[in-house]
C-alpha cells in the first residue's frame, strides 16, 4: 500500500516536449518533489489542460528523473494525451505524485529482466537507473513493439550511464530485432540463472503471456505494472479495481494504491483479459 504522505500536488514548468519516432512523445517538466521521491513503477496524476474537459487527471509512469526534472513517455490516444503533447516549454504542468506502489527493488540483486511492450517502456529508464543504484549488476530490457519506428529508442533506456544495461528488441513485423513477440525473448534473458527479478509492463495480453511463461521457472520477484481507468489516483474513489486471485474466486484490488505494480501470480489473468480496453475510441 502506497504512502500518500510522500505525494505532493506540485506545478512546474514544462522544459521540453520531444517528438520521438512512431508517435511517441517525451515530456519533461520541472517537478522537484516528484523528481526527489519517485521510485520506478510509481506514477503521477498529470493535469491535462485546465478546463473541465478533460475533467480528471491522467496517470503516467515516471519514466526518467534528471536533477529536479521528470520525464513522461506517452502517445496521443485521446483528449488528455493530445493536450499534454501540445504543451510548450514554459507552460505549467500540474502533477500529483508520486503515487502507487512501484517495482520491488531489493538490495544485492544480480540480473534483473524488464519486459516492455510498446508504451510499457515507460517505467524502465528509471528502473534501469535505480536497479543499478541498488547494486544490480545487469539489467536486461526486452523491448517489443509493432514495428521499428514504434520502439522506444534503446539509448533512452540507458541514459546517464550505459554500463550493465542490455536492450534486446523485437518487432511484430520484423523491421528490427527479433521478428516476433517480446515474450519469445524471455527464456533467453533468463538463461544464466542469476536472474533475481522480472518486471513487465505493456498490453495485458503480453503481460498474461509473460506470467504464463514464468509460471514454473519464476525468479524470486516477478512483477507486472497494470492499468485501470482512474478517478482519483490515490485510493478514494474506488474506481480502479483490478481482478486479483483469491482462492478460486476474484477479488478487487485498487490499481492506484495496491498497484499499479502487482505480483505476477496474484493477478487473475482470465478476468483481466475479459475486461474491455481502457481506452474508448
Amino acid at each position: 500500500m502506497s504512502d500518500l504522505r510522500r505525494s505532493r500536488d506540485e506545478r512546474g514548468a514544462v522544459v521540453r516536449v520531444e517528438e520521438l519516432a512512431g508517435g511517441l512523445v517525451e515530456l519533461t517538466a520541472h517537478l522537484p518533489h516528484l523528481a526527489a521521491t519517485a521510485r520506478a513503477g510509481e506514477f503521477a496524476q498529470l493535469r491535462c489542460g485546465d478546463g473541465p474537459v478533460p475533467l480528471l487527471r491522467r496517470p503516467f509512469s515516471v519514466a526518467w528523473v534528471d536533477g529536479e526534472h521528470c520525464s513522461f513517455v506517452f502517445e496521443r490516444v485521446g483528449a488528455g494525451t493530445r493536450l499534454l503533447a501540445a504543451m510548450r516549454p514554459g507552460d505549467t504542468l500540474g502533477s500529483l505524485g508520486p503515487l502507487g506502489a512501484g517495482f520491488t527493488l531489493g538490495d544485492g540483486m544480480r540480473t534483473v529482466v524488464c519486459v516492455a511492450g510498446g508504451l510499457g517502456c515507460a517505467p524502465f529508464p528509471l528502473l534501469a537507473r535505480q536497479a543499478r543504484d541498488r547494486g544490480a549488476s545487469r539489467v536486461v530490457i526486452v523491448h517489443g513493439a509493432a514495428t521499428a519506428a514504434r520502439l522506444y529508442p534503446a539509448e533512452r533506456f540507458v541514459r546517464g550511464d550505459a554500463s550493465g544495461v542490455e536492450v534486446v528488441e523485437s518487432t511484430d513485423d520484423g523491421t528490427r530485432g527479433h521478428h516476433g513477440l517480446a515474450v519469445d525473448l524471455i527464456a533467453d534473458a533468463l538463461r544464466g540463472g542469476d536472474v533475481d527479478a522480472v518486471y513487465a509492463c505493456g498490453p495485458n495480453p503480453m503481460l498474461a503471456a509473460t506470467a504464463a511463461r514464468l509460471a514454473n521457472t519464476a525468479p524470486a520477484v516477478c512483477e507486472v505494472s497494470l492499468e485501470a481507468p482512474m478517478g482519483c489516483g490515490f485510493g478514494t474513489c474506488l474506481g480502479c479495481a483490478l481482478p486479483m486471485r483469491r482462492g478460486d474466486s476474484t477479488a478487487w484490488a485498487l490499481c492506484c494504491r495496491e498497484g499499479p505494480v502487482m505480483p505476477m501470480q496474484a493477478v487473475d489473468w482470465d478476468a483481466l483479459r475479459a475486461l474491455p480496453p481502457a481506452h474508448v475510441a
Binding site: 500536488d9 474537459v53 481507468p229 478517478g231 489516483g233 490515490f234 481482478p243 478487487w252
Partner: protein, 312 residues
C-alpha cells in the same frame, strides 16, 4: 469591504449538530477521510460525509467502474465498503479524535437494514449523524426509496424512531418530483436533506458495441456537467421544505459553491472535484469566506434568491 471577518459560517443542522462551516465533502469522493488526511488538513472541513456504508461489507462492482464524459464522470462503484460493523468498531475511533464532524452515509435495501445500520453506528462515538443514501443508482434497489415519496417517508419515519442522531436524507434527482420526496422526508422527521446524488447515465464503447460500464451499462453522472441540474434541484427543494438543504453537484470552485447558496443551499458538499484537485474543498472554504467578507455578508444564506411567488 473591510478585512474584518463578520460572517458567521456555522450551520446548525439539527439535533444539536452544528457544522463549523458549510463546506463538506460528498459521500464516495472522500472515502472515510483516511487518504485525504495524508494529503490535506481535513480538520478544517465543515463535515465529512463518508462512503456509503452497508449492513455487510461489499466488494463493489466489476471494473471498469469509472468513465469520463464531457465535463463529467460516470461511476459504478457498487458501494464497495467494509460494512457497518467495521466502521462502528474501527473507523469511528479515528472519527472520535477528529474535530471535523463525520456524518456516515448509510445505504441499504430494506427499512430493517437501514435501522440495523443506524443502531450499530449509534453504539459508536465520533459520529455526528447519518446521511441516508436512498439514491444510489449503482446497486439493485439502491434508488427504490429515493424514487417514491411515500416509501421514502416511511423509511425516514422508521429510522427517525431508531436514533436520536441528526438525520440527513440524500435525495435522488432521477425523479419527476424531487420536492415531493423532500417534503415527505421532512414530514417524517429528517433534520436536513442533501441534493443531489448522481444522475443515471451511460457511456458507450463504440468498438465493443456495448456500454463501458458493466451490468446494466449505467452509472451515476457527477461533476461540472450536472451543476445546472443540481442548482435547479436545490432551488426546487428549497421552495418545498424548511429544513436545511445541503447543495451537492458540480461544485469545483468557490463560485460554484456560492451559486448553490443563491439557489437555496444552507451548506454544500464538494464531490468529484476532489479527485482532480485534493485541495479543492479547502480552497472553496477559503474562497467563500473571502467572498462573504468582501461582500459584507452576515451569513452565506443572505445570498439566497427569493423567487417571486408563481401564479398557480
Amino acid at each position: 469591504m473591510s478585512g474584518e471577518s463578520t460572517v458567521d459560517l456555522r450551520v446548525p443542522l439539527g439535533r444539536g449538530v452544528e457544522l463549523p462551516n458549510p463546506v463538506g465533502v460528498a459521500s464516495g469522493t472522500f472515502g472515510y477521510g483516511f487518504e485525504f488526511e495524508q494529503l490535506i488538513d481535513i480538520q478544517r472541513l465543515g463535515a465529512i460525509y463518508t462512503k456509503g456504508t452497508t449492513p455487510q461489507p461489499r466488494e463493489g462492482n466489476p471494473p471498469p467502474r469509472v468513465a469520463e464524459t464531457a465535463g463529467g464522470m460516470l461511476n459504478s462503484i457498487g458501494l464497495q465498503n467494509p460494512g457497518v460493523d467495521h466502521v462502528a468498531r474501527v473507523y469511528a475511533q479515528s472519527f472520535a479524535q477528529w474535530r471535523v464532524p463525520v456524518i456516515v452515509n448509510v445505504a441499504a435495501a430494506t427499512v430493517d437494514e437501514y435501522v440495523h445500520c443506524v443502531r450499530v453506528l449509534d453504539t459508536a462515538d465520533g459520529i455526528a449523524g447519518y446521511e441516508l443514501n436512498i439514491s444510489c443508482p449503482n446497486i439493485a434497489h439502491g434508488m427504490d426509496f429515493g424514487l417514491d415519496a411515500t416509501a421514502a417517508g416511511r423509511l425516514v419515519g422508521t429510522v427517525r424512531g431508531a436514533t436520536e442522531r441528526c438525520l440527513v436524507v440524500k435525495l435522488s434527482p432521477n425523479v419527476t418530483d424531487i420536492a415531493a420526496v423532500a417534503r415527505a422526508v421532512e414530514d417524517s422527521g429528517a433534520d436536513a436533506v442533501s441534493a443531489v446524488n448522481t444522475y443515471v447515465g451511460m457511456k458507450v464503447h463504440l468498438a465493443m458495441r456495448r456500454p463501458v460500464l458493466p451490468n446494466r451499462g449505467t452509472g451515476g453522472l457527477s461533476g461540472p456537467a450536472i451543476k445546472p441540474l443540481a442548482l435547479a434541484a436545490v432551488a426546487r427543494v428549497r421552495a418545498a421544505v424548511r429544513i436545511p438543504v445541503i447543495g451537492v453537484g458540480g461544485i469545483a470552485t468557490a463560485t460554484d459553491a456560492l451559486e448553490h447558496f443563491v439557489a437555496g443551499a444552507d451548506a454544500v458538499q464538494v464531490g468529484t472535484a476532489s479527485f482532480a484537485d485534493p485541495r479543492a474543498c479547502l480552497d472553496i472554504l477559503d474562497g467563500i469566506t473571502a467572498y462573504a467578507q468582501r461582500a459584507g455578508l452576515a451569513r452565506l444564506t443572505d445570498l439566497r434568491w427569493q423567487p417571486a411567488p408563481l401564479p398557480a
